[in-house]
């Protein structure tokens, strides 16, 4: 039997959607798992075959292959078969590099978010350049971690708008020390979301060099940006104190305690005063 035919027969053993379009009736666990075991036995060729079967999300043609591809990833992890997991991820990564509809590529990014590791970073980095995929690829790289910060840093200089926001968001979430200079650089970006993401990342890093920069950012006028900048300062001070950099932490807390004098910011001043007290 040809690969496509035998794989189709196995995919057909996945559950049928009920009248509401849900998997709630006749869910036969042994039948599904037996079929997954056979697909697993088919190796990369069957993984590739499942990718080729994916269709428009929600369409009848897409329901079973989408489910089977995801369930296969979990089946492989249940076996503790690392070479098979790597093979699965490499196959998806290869498919991501090929000409395919954006909705299929987005799903491949999502599957790599769950099952990929460093082997998928290169393929995900390549689609960071695509506006339609940058969110899915960023989220996948954030989950994988390995190779992600380098990919974000490399893509950033040429990125604008939504892509730029995603890349800085990714760098900040990873709290990668090597990215601190870059985050300090974009702390004055013209895009508010880029500024806030950079501040968040530097705070998470406990970056001592960012103390004057984050305090300056906290001079923002009343509103969301100031609320977030206050948070960045408080988190930064906590991280600095935990790292034994009490003088820098004291500087941050003292500035907030001195400047948050209005009624609306009493709670920030009190948080800073508690921080100061904790430093002794």
């Amino acid at each position: 039997m040809a690969v496509a035919e035998s794989l189709s027969a196995l995919v057909e053993r996945m559950p049928d959607a009920d009248g509401r379009g849900m998997f709630t009736e006749n869910i036969d666990k042994p039948r599904i798992e037996d079929a997954l075991a056979e697909i697993y036995g088919g190796g990369r060729e069957y993984v590739r075959g499942l990718v080729e079967m994916l269709g428009v999300p929600g369409s009848e043609a897409d329901v079973k292959p989408r489910y089977a591809l995801h369930a296969l990833g979990n089946h492989i992890l249940q076996q503790g078969d690392e070479p098979a997991r790597r093979g699965y991820a490499e196959t998806l990564a290869e498919a991501l590099a090929e000409e395919r509809p954006a909705h299929v590529k987005a799903f491949l990014c999502e599957e790599l978010q769950w099952f990929g590791r460093g082997e998928a970073a290169g393929a995900l980095a390549a689609v960071l350049a695509e506006e339609a995929l940058v969110e899915a690829a960023t989220m996948a790289l954030m989950a994988i971690g390995d190779g992600a910060a380098a990919a974000f840093r490399e893509a950033l200089p040429a990125a604008e708008g939504k892509r730029r926001r995603n890349l800085v968001h990714g760098l900040a979430a990873l709290a990668d020390a090597e990215s601190a200079p870059l985050l300090r650089e974009v702390l004055n970006d013209e895009d508010r979301e880029v500024r806030l993401a950079a501040g968040w990342g530097l705070a998470q890093l406990g970056d001592a060099a960012a103390v004057p920069l984050l305090l300056e950012a906290a001079d923002a006028g009343p509103g969301w940006e100031r609320i977030q900048a206050d948070k960045h300062c408080l988190v930064l001070a906590e991280k600095l104190a935990a790292a034994g950099r009490r003088d820098e932490a004291r500087t941050v807390y003292a500035r907030l305690a001195e400047t948050r004098t209005g009624n609306a910011e009493v709670y920030v001043r009190e948080a800073a005063e508690r921080g100061l007290a904790s430093l002794g």
Binding site: A17, R20, G21, M22, F23, T24, I27, D28, K29, I32, L36, V56, P57, G58, S59, E60, R66, Y67, H70, A71, N74, H75, L77, Q78, H103, A106, E110, Q113, W114, F115, E135, A136, T138, M139, A140, M142, A143, R165, H169, A172, A173, E193, A197, G223, W224, I227, Q228, K231, L234, E238, G262, N263, A264, E265, V266, Y267, V268, E270, A271, R274
Partner: protein, 403 residues
């Protein structure tokens, strides 16, 4: 229409009642400064997420709260940024808002709770507390950092067995022989997601991008919206996440597990779909002290029969233990949200308690989704030795959203 009517009713009620007259003559908290709560006052309130449970959640803020702002992604065609909003960040900028009720889909709960506390507001948040485990730690941290009041909007613990709580909190039982089985009531089929659907165009009145928020922005179809959102991992965790905070709030308090979590989780479920929540049979969760909690759907698969339910009682102590227990003070009464705000003492369903209760069903869902037995470290709040499962404990958010 129900949502705006609720606000009007609240204002009418306050204006027409003795409490309303009194409230109108008192100095609002924002004039005195946030964190400076006098014993009696009128509070400025906001409701974020105005459909479904929204009006009821707002009522639970207490009798002296004036509705100043209503925020919902469905207000795209009427938002004036004075009374009606689509963007919660603009609501939180208002210094006259003291307390916030959050009743959005759960994918937003943690982000909004954290952001509200960062803005100095006290928070009453609908259940479930969070969409995934690490969000809960951020809520706890925000509560601690800003000393705000946080209460989860479920009240099982307020009627829980205080005798069991006293026994378990005493530490006199080294091992807990209890087996607690919660069977049924999880609405599993009801809150399943659709795997087959037709993509639709986004209605003009809806800000779909903001609705999706930290989750991937997917093609719109109506089942992802308006109550049935519960069936999608992007926004919630099926009937289990929808109902279990109710079922387990009392359990967590009774068994004194507000500051810890299970160490082992084992599921019985068919392979899960990547986007749509679906069927499961049961999940067994075990704590380090031996306490076993079983969540059983009663809607799919064979019945759980590994262990028989068994409660814990004073009879599990020896005579000396019973004497020691009798000498211990009874548990402190739990404060509801209005009382906690007034006294500035922690609410009964505070952030850590709410987070640890949510951790139970999130762990169950991680086990269901991965199909694997998991070991959990309740201190570090990570799954031990399973990188991919941990990606469900701590999930990336779509830019620019974060906690």
């Amino acid at each position: 229409m129900r949502r705006s009517k609720a606000g009007i009713n609240r204002r009418r009620f306050l204006a027409g009642s003795a409490a309303g007259v009194a409230a109108a003559t008192l100095v609002p908290r924002h004039v005195l400064g946030q964190g400076q709560t006098p014993p009696s006052e009128s509070l400025g309130g906001a409701l974020i997420g105005c459909g479904g449970r929204g009006p009821g959640t707002f009522r639970d803020l207490g009798p002296d709260v004036r509705m100043l702002a209503q925020c919902d992604v469905r207000f795209a065609d009427r938002a004036d940024n004075e009374t009606y909003y689509t963007d919660y960040r603009r609501v939180l900028e208002r210094t006259d808002v003291d307390v916030v009720a959050i009743a959005t889909p759960p994918g937003w709960h943690a982000l909004m709770s954290v952001a509200a506390m960062e803005a100095g507001k006290d928070v009453l948040c609908e259940k479930p507390t969070t969409r995934f485990i690490s969000e809960g730690r951020a809520v706890v941290e925000a509560e601690r950092r800003y000393r705000r009041i946080f209460q989860i909007c479920t009240y099982g613990r307020f009627g829980a067995n205080r005798g069991i709580h006293k026994l378990m909190a005493s530490g006199l039982l080294e091992e807990c022989p209890a087996v607690v089985v919660r069977r049924g009531g999880f609405k599993v089929a009801e809150w399943s997601g659709r795997v087959r659907y037709e993509i639709e165009s986004v209605p003009e009145w809806l800000d779909w991008d903001l609705y999706c928020g930290p989750a991937p922005e997917r093609p719109f179809h109506r089942h992802r919206f308006g109550g049935s959102h519960r069936g999608y991992w992007d926004y919630d965790g099926g009937g289990l996440a929808d109902m279990a905070q109710h079922h387990l709030d009392g359990f967590n308090y009774e068994y004194a597990k507000d500051f810890t979590s299970p160490v082992e989780v084992e599921p019985f479920a068919p392979p899960a779909h990547p986007e749509a929540c679906g069927m499961w049979g049961w999940v067994e969760l075990r704590y380090a002290d031996g306490l076993t909690l079983v969540l059983e759907s009663g809607e799919w698969g064979e019945r759980y029969d590994r262990r028989q339910p068994r409660q814990v009682s004073e009879a599990d102590l020896d005579e000396a233990g019973r004497r020691k227990l009798a000498e211990l003070p009874d548990p402190e009464p739990l404060l509801r949200f209005p009382e906690a705000v007034r006294t500035r003492h922690r609410a009964g369903g505070h952030a850590e308690a709410a987070h640890r209760t949510a951790t139970l069903f999130h762990l169950a869902n991680v086990a269901i989704r991965t199909g694997r037995k998991l070991r959990y470290d309740p201190e570090k709040e990570v799954i031990v030795g399973d990188e991919e499962a941990n990606r469900l404990v701590h999930q990336p958010m779509r830019a620019p959203w974060r906690v």
